[in-house]
């Protein structure tokens, strides 16, 4: 299997991954074989590795990678973790965001507002203007006009001003800003649907519970979708307005649903998502075990017949 061979060849440039599976056979016969032979990498492992080695990248950085941009990640762990990205990594990562936006129906001439920190991939991958060495952000590729409000909840008033004066097609919003924003928009705007078409709630390695999502839809009177971020794996997936499952893309990621111990489970079971990233060359993510409970469904949605679909 060529993709595995290629993946493992560069992943072995990472001291951590080399230590984890450098001695193992790299002749992977298929996805099943891959899951059996290659061990998972957990957040705890990355934290422990950073603490013991002192390396900010938790020994994940490939020696030969052309790291240009380093980002501190949003994990509330004992020590802070980082990823580094090359031009090519940034390009592919931003392509994932472009596909999220596309799935939502965003296109030429649309305004897109982001109520999140500039350091969230939802923001920094939106425009080449936000991030050095990013040749094309999601907005550049689709012809959208983005605006970022920063991610502090008490910036809700400014988010409301953005809606008033820009009337974006969609507002991407951090889940911890959703309630303060809702209160502020109810106070100032009345019905939100007069100002934007949809909200997209995001958080790193977490998902707004379905019941809350429904409640916000009712309360705010417009669709509320979710965008799934798994930042350590440089992973993005977007909830589909049609099938309401998360879509992601086979050429960018391989997604498994596994138990904490790493066993495979059947479709429909509730386990954790493990991400293998096909494009990240500087800080490879191979079977990164996220904290997101979810399962992988068969492809076949009208909006993206070949897309990976995830329930989370």
């Amino acid at each position: 299997m060529r993709p595995f061979k290629q993946l493992l060849r560069y992943a072995l440039g990472s001291p951590l991954l080399k230590k984890k599976f450098g001695g193992l056979a790299t002749d992977i016969a298929g996805f099943k074989d891959f899951s059996v032979k290659i061990p998972l990498t957990t957040l705890e492992e990355l934290v422990a590795e950073k603490m013991s080695s002192g390396d900010p990248y938790a020994s994940r950085l490939c020696e030969n990678g052309a790291a240009l941009v380093t980002l501190q990640l949003e994990y509330d762990t004992e020590t802070r973790l980082y990823i580094a990205l090359s031009r090519q990594d940034l390009k592919r990562y931003a392509e994932a965001l472009r596909r999220c936006w596309s799935l939502l129906g965003l296109g030429k001439g649309d305004g897109v507002a982001i109520f999140d920190y500039g350091t969230s991939p939802v923001s920094y991958l939106a425009s080449s203007a936000f991030t050095p060495y990013l040749s094309q952000g999601a907005a550049d590729a689709l012809g959208c006009l983005p605006i970022c409000n920063d991610g502090v909840a008490n910036m809700s008033q400014r988010a409301v001003e953005i809606l008033k004066f820009m009337r974006p097609q969609a507002l991407f919003i951090r889940s911890d800003c959703l309630e303060p924003f809702s209160i502020e928009s109810e106070r100032q705007l009345g019905r939100l649907s007069g100002y934007t078409r949809a909200l997209v709630v995001t958080e790193n390695e977490g998902c707004l519970p379905k019941a809350e999502q429904d409640a916000y839809e009712k309360r705010l009177g417009l669709p509320v979708y979710r965008l799934l971020r798994i930042d350590a794996g440089m992973f993005l997936a977007m909830e589909c307005p049609e099938c309401r499952l998360f879509h992601s893309w086979k050429d960018l990621y391989y997604v498994e649903s596994v138990t904490r111990a790493g066993d495979d489970v059947d479709e429909g079971g509730q386990n954790y998502l493990a991400i293998t990233n096909w494009f990240a060359r500087v800080c490879p993510a191979v079977r990164y075990l996220s904290q997101v409970k979810g399962s992988v469904y068969s492809a076949g949605c009208r909006r993206g017949p070949a897309d990976i679909r995830i329930a989370a």
Partner: protein
Amino acid sequence: MRKEVEQGRPDGKDTWPEERLRGFQFRKIKRVLGHAYQELPFYRRRFDAAHLHPDSVKSFHDLARVPTFTKKEVLDEMKKKGTFRTGMETFNSADQAVLCMTSGTLGTSFLYLPKRWRSLRGDSLARAYWWGGLRAGMHMLMAAPAWHSLAVQESRVIERLGATCVIPWGTFLPRFAENFLTTLVDTRPDFVSMFLPMLYALLAECRRRRMEARLAFDSVQYLLIVGAPMTPRSREQLKEELGVRDIFEGLGNPEGLTAMECSFHRGHHIFADCCYVEIVDPKTGALLPAGKRGNVVITSLIPYGTLYLRYDSEDLGEILPHACECGRTWPLMEVYDRRTNTVEVAGKEIVPYDVRLCLDDFPELIGVPFAVVRGEKSAPYLKLLIQRPATGDPYGLGARLRALLRQRLQIDAREEWTEELPERWKGVAVIEEKDWGTPRV
């Protein structure tokens, strides 16, 4: 190898003879005037109301006939139209562009910034970072508040100079100081770009961790600071405390101003390739000569995106009358504060920066928080509130400070020492007298 070292070296425009520079700037001004008149309804209306055609502007002096405007007028226009598109911007939906904001006490205004704006303004700003010591291959720490136009320019600067960068999680608010400090220690950048209040928050975080600031900044060679004026002495003290080679202060605003210190630190060179600065009398609107304080009026020379043309920033500043030892011909300027922070004492306009300069003459008072208390009307003497320094006799100090204020500013002063300035007032150097009567935290 040599080529790599030279990546991003700025051209010689900053040493052009004055005449050549003025010719260059005037051509650019004519271009933006014509553009504004032809393409931007906001300006067309104002020109027509003033019975002014851009063709009739034949000198820098004529430019002063173009009416100035303030942020309030931009906000009013936005409210009237119900959109960020005020007619100050060349909007093209085919552009790759972003919207950024300027926030302030009056409200939020928007800037439409297409790719070409970013290239021109960012490449101009690259010169500032070059002066500040940023070079190809260096590692730079940047904050990423993408809502602010500085981020849009900085991302371009990094590409242009060939540096790599690290971005701490969060935004440039003191509560993220922990992330910033950890990033500093973990990734050891050579160059740091930061807002001054954030730098002070980092120092506080160092104290909290009982970590020597020098150790935290061990890898850092140069700091570029924006956001608040720093006195020469506080810069020297910070340099010493952080153990960095130099600290540069940049001035700027999203509407058009870029100005930056060179290594002589004699003021801020105005970046003549992208902005034109005038100082006007706030009451009469008349142009003021170098050496006189007045409102800073900005004209951006970039005819893309949102254009600010004779924008009265309501900052109090001056063009400095001296040339810089560095030999660059770009004029020097200083911005002292927001106009609203001036205090009238015995018929004189004083800003907290004037007082800060005097305080910093006393080693015990460098960096010590203080505030100016302002009454309803002009006061016969200056009322100061100063946080009691950790060492020394404040009363003896007070007498010496009063003498210095009298000598430098020709005003009398009375000071009051306080244990700690209330949280609400930290960093707010003017307190209204009516508030001081009933302090609230």
